[in-house]
Subunit: 358 residues, 2 copies
Amino acid sequence: MRVSAIASLFAALAITTAIGAPARADDALRDQAKKLFEPIPKTAPAIPGDPATAEKLTLGRMLFFEPRLSDNREISCATCHNLSLGGVDSGALSGGHNAQLAGREVQTVLNAVFNKSQYWDGRTNDLKDQVVNSVMANPKAMLKTRGGPMAINPIELSANKQRAIDELKSMPAYVEAFKKAFPDDSDPLVYDNVGRAIALFEGTLITPDAPFDRWLTGDATALSDEQKDGLKLFIDKGCAGCHNGVNVGGASYAKFGVVAPPPPEYLPADDLGRYAVTKNVTDKYAFKVPSLRNVELTAPYFHSGATFELSKAVSVMGESQLGAKLSDDETHKIVAFLKSLTGHQPEVTLPILPPRSH
Amino acid sequence: MRVSAIASLFAALAITTAIGAPARADDALRDQAKKLFEPIPKTAPAIPGDPATAEKLTLGRMLFFEPRLSDNREISCATCHNLSLGGVDSGALSGGHNAQLAGREVQTVLNAVFNKSQYWDGRTNDLKDQVVNSVMANPKAMLKTRGGPMAINPIELSANKQRAIDELKSMPAYVEAFKKAFPDDSDPLVYDNVGRAIALFEGTLITPDAPFDRWLTGDATALSDEQKDGLKLFIDKGCAGCHNGVNVGGASYAKFGVVAPPPPEYLPADDLGRYAVTKNVTDKYAFKVPSLRNVELTAPYFHSGATFELSKAVSVMGESQLGAKLSDDETHKIVAFLKSLTGHQPEVTLPILPPRSH
């Protein structure tokens, strides 16, 4: 019995050590990760100079789901930014009706408020400008935006804006909602306020409490060993050089093919990326580093939407950006880590939109 | 002072009488209306033999918003049955991408559970069969459904069913959700259960508390005088001969053009209506009498979607069905009454759908 008791004691000590050692390794990894990443905050960030009142958010939600803003009265923000599907649509460029029109794969609206710029080519900085730009882009104009904003015909743009405003003004419920949302404006139903209201609503579409964020803030059980291995690889291989910060990306631009050009289906030759915005030759084939938040939900991947397989996207990135041929095991672990970036999805109740009055 | 007091007393009596007389007229109108109409119940009706558990409703809501049920993974029930817009889309047949494919104008899913049959030609009776029929109809097949169900290729239909089931089976969250929703089934993820779950969810999409229903159940202030005049005209002119019951329609078929054929844009010659289902010559150009619940929200009107103007729809109906040339004032009053049929719209929170796993 005494021998057995001592054996138990040793066993217990051994377990303590076994738990203690990874715990210390975890601490080191967490310290390293904290220098690179930040958790998504629990509540929506304020937009400077534009307080998010309940009236603005109600209006913004209505407009986000409002198909009558579009030229053919059929496409709303929610059509491509499906909030049931990680804020993107479910199609690829090759088959997708809407994505096809846009010329580039849809980027998620979730956590977009934390991106330093919007669009794959970063042609607008804040969400309000992105909204104004996108809502105004009817399918024809959207087709032309591939290659940059200069391709949009300004006369057409202005006509579309006016049509959308006229449409909203024809519905008394909208006239009232704009008055309530912007009580200090003498003429509240103007295009800039459409952008402000939608942008404020979009700012609420954040996904806190991802396993990675819970681990980062101290919950040791939130990541599996495989996911922690994946995180370590993600840092050591250099992925975190671009994919960092609160959005694990979204804060910089990078040439697609820094080390080696990816296959042409991933990088179609006719889309010059950020070059179209800056006309700077070093920006040829540069794109915004996308956020990897909720990346599990946002297939297909790349601006070209060329693959639905996250493991394929990881291995292409490794080769073209880092010159690293990742093993299947390494890719598998990095994918496991990336899945820990899926946060609590926003719960959105569908707005009831007013009937048309003409 | 005494004279003035007596004058006040007379004035008060006069007011009492003035209020009393219309109140008695109201009672007569209400008695007449109660024989023709019923209010929408406050809670969803039970579907016999298929109790609506929380698990079935959760699954049904997911599937209602699930674009990956469709062949191109882009069209869900919610695409055409937009719950922000009265359960229909906002387009007309002539311009509408989705409606165009379907060949007939979208009918609302709101209160569809109270209809005696589904589709403009009544080719299915219950919601479950409608769901199975519609979800399976990919755009190509839908195009062929104009003229009836026989036009759907049964081999294609079966292939589509299998593809949808395979797609759902590839996502572990759906495998789990079907198990929970149908715990007694040995193989719960089958097509019939897709239909059952969506139909049960659709059964919750009802719109109680319309002003007309509140008036019908005793709230004298719920209708304006104009609306009560409109109701009286609606009954006296004969509209209520077909548009009656809980759904103010949805319970019978009628030839479009009983008295006089409507202009061809309202009744295109190549759509034979219910005839395609029954092959009975008396059913040529017969269609289901649509529910007028929430009709204010469900433009455009007719199976042909030929007009967005409710007043135009009322006057065309008057001439073609009743041989009645309604005056502008009569039309205006009937439209005012029809707007009292807009009930409390269901508040639906968007489901979060699982990521694809292949």
